[in-house]
C-alpha cells in the first residue's frame, strides 16, 4: 500500500526562530500588529510504500529522526493518509 505523509518540522519552542521574529516584525509594519509569535518551519510531503499504516508510520518516523529533523533544534509531527 502507498501512504502519503505530511510532515511538519518546527524549531523547538525554547529556541529563538530568527525568521519567525523577522516576519512578526513585518506584520507590525503591515498594520497587522494583532499577529504575533510567528514561527517558521518546514513542510515536507512524501510517499511511502508499506504493508499497513503502522509500518508506514515507523518508516516515516525513522526518516524524520535520521534525516528530515535534527532533534537537537527541531521537533516534528506528521499525518499519514492512504494514497489514492
Amino acid at each position: 500500500m502507498k501512504f502519503k505523509a505530511e510532515i511538519d518540522v518546527m524549531p523547538l519552542a525554547a529556541l529563538l526562530d530568527p525568521q519567525g521574529k523577522a516576519v512578526t516584525n513585518s506584520m507590525k509594519s503591515l498594520g497587522l500588529g494583532e499577529i504575533d509569535s510567528v514561527r517558521i518551519g518546514k513542510h515536507i510531503s512524501l510517499m511511502v510504500e508499506a504493508a499497513n499504516e503502522s509500518e508506514a508510520k515507523s518508516k516515516v518516523d525513522e526518516a524524520c529522526k535520521k534525516l528530515l529533523c535534527n532533534q537537537i533544534m527541531e521537533g516534528y509531527s506528521f499525518k499519514l493518509s492512504a494514497a489514492k
Partner: protein, 230 residues
C-alpha cells in the same frame, strides 16, 4: 602525518585548507572526493567549509550521508583525527561526531568578518598549545553558526574541557557584546570527549598566509602539529 581534505559538491574552502597545510605548513595533503569510501591512508581528515549540497534541508544534513562519511566516522571512532571547519563543523555535528547543533545566527544575517577567539581547552591539541588569555584574530563567514546544545550537554562540555574556543574581545576577554551569532556561552569550537574530533566555525585557514596580513590561524595549526609530532 598525511592529511585528507574531503570535497563535497558545494565545498568552497577546500583549496584554502590544502594551500595552508601543503604550502605554508609543508604537510602531505590529498583531496578525498565525497563519493569515495577510502581515506587513502589519511591520518588527519579535514572537512572544509562551504555549502555542501547547497545547505539543502539543513547545513550539513545531506553531506553527512555521503559515502565517505562512514569511513570518516569509523576513523574518528578508532581515535583518528578529524577536524571540521565552518560547514565541516556543521557536518560533524549532524553526523553525531560532535555534540550540539548550529542554528541560524541570532542576528538573522550572514556574517563575514574578522572575530577574535581565545583558546579554552588545555587538553585538546587544537587549543592547548596556544597562548591562553590572548585573542586570536580569525575570520568567520556563516549564516548558521549559532552554537546550541541543551544545558546538560553544555555542562558536560565544560566539565570535560571540550570547549576549544570562545569568541572574545581583542584583548582575550570573553564578553557577550562580541558574541557574533548568539552562540551559547560564546562557544566558537568544541571537541569530542576523546579529544580527537574538533569543530570550529571560524576559519583559521583564511588567516594563515602572511600575504593576507594575518597569520593567527597558522599558529593554531602549528601548535597542533607540534603536539602531534611530539
Amino acid at each position: 602525518m598525511k592529511f585528507g581534505v574531503v570535497v563535497f559538491p558545494g565545498s568552497n574552502c577546500d583549496e584554502d585548507i590544502v594551500h595552508t597545510l601543503q604550502n605554508i605548513l609543508g604537510q602531505e595533503v590529498q583531496k578525498l572526493w565525497h563519493k569515495e569510501t577510502d581515506l587513502k591512508g589519511s591520518d588527519f581528515v579535514v572537512i572544509p567549509g562551504g555549502f555542501s549540497y547547497g545547505d539543502y534541508l539543513r547545513s550539513g544534513a545531506i553531506a553527512r550521508f555521503s559515502p565517505i562519511m562512514d569511513s570518516v566516522i569509523a576513523h574518528a571512532n578508532k581515535g583518528g583525527y578529524v577536524m571540521g571547519i565552518c560547514n565541516g563543523f556543521q557536518i560533524l555535528c549532524e553526523a553525531g561526531l560532535l555534540p550540539g547543533a548550529l542554528l541560524h545566527n541570532n542576528t538573522r544575517k550572514f556574517i563575514c568578518k574578522n572575530t577574535f577567539i581565545t583558546p579554552q581547552s588545555h587538553t585538546c591539541m587544537i587549543s592547548s598549545n596556544l597562548e591562553f588569555g590572548r585573542g586570536y584574530q580569525i575570520p568567520i563567514a556563516h549564516g548558521e553558526g549559532n552554537y546550541y546544545a541543551n544545558e546538560g550537554t553544555i555542562k558536560s562540555l565544560n566539565d570535560n574541557d571540550q570547549v576549544i574556543f570562545r569568541y572574545c574581545q581583542e584583548d582575550g576577554q570573553i564578553t557577550e557584546s562580541v558574541n557574533p551569532n548568539g552562540s551559547v556561552q560564546n562557544i566558537a569550537g568544541v571537541c569530542n570527549i576523546g579529544k580527537n574530533v574538533f569543530g570550529m566555525m571560524p576559519h583559521p585557514e583564511r588567516a594563515a598566509d602572511y600575504l593576507l596580513n594575518n597569520t593567527d590561524g597558522k599558529e593554531l595549526f602549528e601548535g597542533a602539529l607540534e603536539l602531534i609530532k611530539a
